[in-house]
Symmetry: C2
Subunit: 147 residues, 2 copies
């Protein structure tokens, strides 16, 4: 055991469990997100809009690590569903401002059970959860906030 190709074994990669875990957890959101007709990407986008009430696409992209190629269609969908409004900034016409609508605020009430329900699906102790959380942010911290 231990040949020069061991480094290429899938079980020796750190990236793989990260990738697989992320996908599996996102998948487990579906049963909770379906009733409020949101996808995972739409959900995390709404989370930021719920917090900020008003934010540019640029700032949203920085927070979510997503670019306009991803966000533009997501935001158009959310506007179409009536949860946000899209309008150009008066100060700087290049900026598109995303604003929470009344329906968007209403949705927040229905969403607020979701985090607790999802928490049960990850079988880690509070200490382990904290550890994982801080390791992940340590990695993210090394990356430029945006592209």
């Amino acid at each position: 055991m231990g040949d020069k190709y061991d480094c290429l074994k899938i079980s020796n990669q750190l990236c793989f469990p990260l990738y697989a875990c992320s996908k599996e957890i996102v998948k487990r959101y579906k049963p909770y997100l379906d009733p409020i007709d949101l996808t995972y990407t739409q959900y995390i986008t709404m989370m930021v809009v719920w917090e900020e009430k008003e934010i540019t696409v640029k700032a949203l992209g920085d927070k979510l690590y997503l670019d306009s190629g991803t966000l533009t269609p997501v935001l158009k969908k959310l506007e179409q569903k009536g949860y946000v409004k899209r309008s150009r900034s008066k100060d700087d016409e290049r900026n598109l401002i995303i604003t929470l609508t009344d329906e968007g605020l209403e949705l927040k009430k229905q969403a607020c059970e979701i985090p607790a329900k999802m928490g049960q699906c990850v079988k880690l102790s509070p200490g382990e959860t904290e550890q994982l959380y801080s390791l992940l942010y340590k990695i993210l911290g090394c990356f430029p906030e945006e592209n």
Copy 2:
């Protein structure tokens, strides 16, 4: 501070850094994968094929947490590039067997520098890396291997 909606803050989610971290790391593979003309999904698929030499699509999907809807086009692409062969099992015609070709084996030599290069991009100590690795597999362990 600490209202009833704190649970919906993006910074209080465990899923989000997991999702963001996974994407950011996959993105950082690109400069190393471009020269050998593989995408990340094609790369992890080849990793398993390099280890197994011969494997069914089903088993591949179990290992990679991917379904046939994702794997079918990926494997056709890899076949087209000449790295794998796709053929039905004689024993059970339902099974599609993926076999490593000589070109596929050749590619392994070029790929073997990648893990070390990527390792430098994640700024964690060996202990922290080990910790993260085991926490992620702990979560994955709770999930059924497949869908």
